[in-house]
């Protein structure tokens, strides 16, 4: 049987013209004309400054933009053509785009990038977000160098964040991933990261690219692959990243892309994670984290209301997912007066684990399970904000660390509910 090909002939032709490279910059896009300019400039500057002697290419899988995004990216080429760039480069910098309109999903974009990386035998591949308007040229070096020079296989970022940004990461993804797989990766599923050629090849050759996790959140699958494959992982501090808290609609989608995929990954890797106890740190290049502490306005009342109404409205759903004890506790919190609201770390960890186990068993539609987590996450967010309203950066870090340890401590509980749901 002829295997299906997902790279177009035109794209292959362009890859042939590029030939072997040392570093590959992947830039997936879809109608990003408004933000892509500074990203492209930072890439050019980063390559010229830090990798002037190395063979480099920008690969731009585009999901069918109609705003000229691919043309902007293609303009990043520095070559000897008649319209030579004003930038001085020792060697040619290629920038090529390919449209993957057939399956315009993040998984296809990343698959295109790693396929190009393998075909061009890139030693290191960095993937960047087209919306990173705060990107600095140094990001390229900070992500690529550990792979290129120090033989790491996966480099994940650490950003300078406001203390109330990235709450999903700090309250769920980081603590759970750390407890499950034993790796303390601060941003395990970032849209900016770097991988080695061998990890790219391994990732590309995985059996299936068809399941939902692969399609909607390939970064997560990649990180899971790196962890389970015992690849060398490190973290690199990048700096400020503009991060907007997702709106209500976005939060469901974000949950799907992150928690959903994390839960899903547990199915296939049970033998690997079930024996992991505790966690070990992952090397960090630069500061471990930097928090911006300016006060911001958070609508605490609204968060509380959304949590309480969710508990009430979704009770039948929660009865399928949660243990009676957990549900009772949550209902008690929902009734608590203003000022006494406390969704504890222990209860939050138990809640998440019970959701993961229910997801594993598909007690109801998996999508409904993920959607049902949203109001609970808002409750946990409320507690986090209340706890850390006046905290210093050190105190916040301490609280996050404490939450992580709670997830680790309760991991046996996950194993218990995984097999025998209470």
């Amino acid at each position: 049987m002829v295997e299906e090909t997902f790279l177009t002939d035109e794209f292959l032709r362009q890859l042939i013209d590029v030939g072997e490279v040392d570093v590959l910059i992947g830039l997936p896009t879809h109608n990003n004309a408004e933000t892509i300019g500074p990203v492209v400039q930072a890439i050019q500057a980063g390559i010229l400054k830090c990798f002037p002697r190395d063979r480099a290419v920008i690969i731009n899988p585009d999901a069918g933009s109609r705003d000229g995004t691919p043309e902007i990216v293609a303009g990043a080429s520095i070559d000897d053509g008649r319209h030579a760039s004003k930038l001085y480069a020792l060697r040619t910098l290629h920038s090529i785009s390919t449209e993957y309109g057939l399956h315009p999903e993040p998984g296809t974009a990343l698959r295109t990038i790693v396929a190009a990386s393998e075909l061009l035998r890139a030693k290191a591949c960095v993937v960047l977000s087209p919306e990173s308007t705060t990107i600095e040229p140094d990001w390229i070096q900070r992500l690529l160098r550990p792979v290129y020079k120090d033989n790491f296989d996966l480099v994940t970022p650490i950003y300078r964040r406001h203390k109330f940004e990235g709450l999903l990461m700090r309250n769920l993804l980081y603590p759970m991933t750390r407890a499950i797989y034993g790796y303390g990766i601060r941003e395990p599923y970032a849209s900016e990261f770097a991988i080695s050629g061998r990890l790219a090849t391994d990732f590309l050759t995985k059996e299936s690219w068809d399941n939902e996790s692969d399609r909607i959140s390939p970064e997560m699958c990649l990180t899971a692959r790196a962890i389970t494959g015992e690849y060398r992982i490190c973290q690199s501090f990048l700096g400020t990243k503009v991060h907007l808290d997702p709106s209500a609609g976005d939060l469901v989608a974000a949950m799907r892309r992150t928690a959903g995929v994390l839960f899903s990954s547990l199915d296939s890797n049970f033998s690997l994670w079930s024996t992991v106890v505790g966690s070990h740190s992952v090397p960090i290049l630069g500061p471990e984290s930097e928090l911006v502490l300016e006060p911001v306005q958070v609508n605490l009342k609204r968060l509380g209301e959304m949590f309480s109404s969710g508990i009430a409205e979704l009770e039948p759903v929660f009865r399928s997912i949660l243990s009676p004890a957990t549900l009772t506790e949550l209902q008690t919190i929902a009734r608590s007066k203003d000022g006494n609201f406390n969704y504890s770390a222990e209860l939050w960890a138990k809640t998440v684990y019970e959701f993961a186990a229910s997801y594993h068993k598909s007690v109801i539609s998996r999508d409904h399970i993920i959607q049902a987590m949203v109001p609970l996450f808002r409750g946990r967010t409320l507690t986090f904000v209340l706890e850390n309203r006046d905290s210093s950066a050190e105190e916040i870090e301490k609280n996050v660390e404490s939450l992580c340890r709670e997830f680790e401590r309760l991991k046996p509980y996950l194993l218990e509910v995984w097999s025998h749901r209470k």
Binding site: D17, Y88, L90
Partner: protein
């Protein structure tokens, strides 16, 4: 030999130092009788012009570029009659001879300088550039950074400073003095009347000094050259003036004037970029310098080279490019000298036959007259431990026998030890063994020179650089009248596929010029070629 106009455009020049080539009298130093005896070899190689490095009387503190008598031959190399015999023998074989004219400076042992320094009132005083202070012309850079601290040197005899752009034992002549200009022309006439076919003028940008300038490329310098050229054209039509001016192409262009200054000039910036492009596996450095290369008047020509008697100069590259070149080609710091790399072609290219062939292929197909440095046609090595640039000036390796066949003298008596190491030594690399092998580098060089000489398009044709999407491929079309040649070079160490837009030549077939095999006819579609590592093609386009 008659000197047809423009003969130098179709020339292939062989650069040789008489001292290094063949020792006929057994004193350990090459000489004119020896050079004459080896002219058959030069003829068989296929070159048609010899460029002789300085052979004049000299203290030899700068390998002869410090002349103490412009009208004679250094006694180590023979007498004037030996030179005349050599010249005649070369002409008999259809080989022209150009010689050095070190016009900018003399040796401090030259009688002119001895007189000049003897007294401020001496009639020769104004033949050199003197000053009571060492503060004039501060804008002039120091060229030999490794050895010189200043362009002024104190003369304890005349108690004043004299100007020198190179070594301090090489005082600059004062070209503001008409007597100097007249004397230098008399010297050139002396050699032209004897029959030499032209001169390579050494260090021409530095002839004149002016306060407030960098003392390079000054308008007054161009006036000196125009005056010389006018005299050459009037009295010795067809004689060649070749400029050594290590400058950017835009600064070099004025040395062609309106076709009334130099006939030829070395294209210095191209050479390091060929090495750079090869190592980067990217045509960009080469095509960019070609783009920056201005048109030159009809009758003028660029002179191209890969290596010569000097260091591989890196003055005409950016700092970033220079660092790259040092790291790639001269990791050992002792390989570096001044602003360059003192190595021969074969060691620079790691003794890689494919890269040596590719570089020679480009040398012989890019627009200009190529120069082959003696010994590079057999892949001779160097000796970086000999000091200065002597490591690339070792005896020619004729055979695997006594002194490599260069001399019958005791080895200890040779002017320089021959290359002895197992890879490049004369027992491994020599003319005799390569003559016996059809596929030796020497045999290949003879073949490519023959192919180059089979078409005037290489010497006189225009160039159009193609820009295929595969940047590892350097492709260009050379055209002269109805003759068109397509050159395609793969700069990569890996096989490459390339699609060339040749639609304007639709209907032509390609004839590969080495094997004479035909390739498919050009149609409407991009012309696909697959090329092995470092492979190159020369195709003649034919409409049949």
């Amino acid at each position: 030999m008659t000197r047809e106009p423009g003969w130098y455009k179709d020339a292939i020049i062989y650069q040789v130092h008489v001292r290094t080539f063949y020792d006929a009298n057994g004193d350990g130093i090459g000489d004119f009788q020896g050079l004459a005896q080896r002219l058959d070899y030069v003829q068989e190689l296929g070159v048609n012009t010899i460029w002789l490095m300085p052979f004049f009387p000299s203290p030899l503190r700068d390998d002869g570029y410090d002349i103490s008598d412009y009208r004679s031959v250094h006694p180590s190399y023979g007498v004037l009659d030996d030179f005349k015999a050599f010249l005649s023998a070369a002409h008999d074989r259809g080989i022209r001879v150009i010689i050095e004219m070190v016009a900018n400076h003399t040796s401090d042992q030259h009688p002119w300088f001895q007189e000049s320094r003897s007294s401020a009132n001496n009639p020769r005083r104004e033949w050199y550039v003197w000053s009571d202070t060492d503060t004039k012309y501060r804008g002039a850079r120091i060229i030999f950074l490794d050895t010189e601290m200043s362009n002024w040197a104190w003369d304890p005899i005349s108690k004043s400073y004299y100007w020198h752009r190179f070594f301090s034992h090489q005082p600059d002549l004062n070209y503001d003095n008409p007597a100097v200009r007249e004397e230098m022309w008399d010297i050139m006439k002396f050699w032209l009347e004897m029959g030499v076919d032209g001169f390579r003028l050494d260090a021409v940008p530095y002839l004149i000094e002016r306060e407030g300038t960098n003392c390079e490329n000054l308008p007054e310098t161009h006036q000196v050259i125009k005056e010389l050229r006018r005299k050459v054209d009037e009295q010795f039509p067809g004689a060649l003036l070749l400029a050594e001016a290590n400058q950017w192409p835009s600064d070099l262009r004025p040395y062609f004037g309106n076709g009334d200054e130099f006939h030829m000039a070395f294209h210095f910036p191209l050479m390091p970029r060929m090495f750079m492009g090869l190592r980067l596996e990217d045509r960009k450095p080469i095509t960019e310098i070609l783009q920056q290369t201005p048109e030159i008047p009809p009758g003028c020509q660029w002179c191209l080279f890969l290596r010569n008697h000097d260091e591989l100069t890196l003055e005409m590259v950016t700092d970033m490019e220079r660092d790259y070149m040092y790291d790639m080609y001269a990791k050992d710091r002792s390989m570096r000298l001044n602003v360059g790399i003192r190595r021969r072609l074969a060691p620079l290219l790691d003794h890689d036959r494919r890269r040596i062939e590719l570089m020679n292929g480009m040398l012989l197909s890019l627009p200009g007259t190529p120069i082959i440095y003696y010994g590079d046609e057999i892949g001779m090595g160097d000796n970086i431990y000999l000091g200065d640039r002597n490591g690339v000036r070792t005896p020619m390796q004729w055979s695997g026998g006594w002194n490599g066949g260069f001399s019958n003298a005791d080895p200890e008596r040779l002017y320089s030890p021959p290359i002895l190491n197992p890879v490049y030594g004369y027992q491994a690399v020599n003319v005799l063994s390569q003559k016996r092998t059809e596929h030796s580098l020497l045999s290949w060089m003879k073949h490519i020179i023959k192919v180059r000489r089979s078409s005037p398009v290489f010497g006189s044709g225009s160039i159009e650089v193609l820009y295929p999407a595969n940047h590892r491929i350097l492709a260009y079309v050379r055209q002269l009248g109805k003759e068109t040649v397509l050159v395609v070079n793969n700069l990569s160490s890996a096989a490459q596929a390339v699609e060339l837009d040749l639609r304007r030549y639709k209907g032509n077939i390609l004839v590969e010029m080495f094997g004479k095999n035909i390739f498919p006819r050009i149609g409407d579609l991009p012309y696909l070629l697959t090329m092995g590592p470092y492979q190159f093609y020369w195709f003649k386009l034919r409409r049949i």
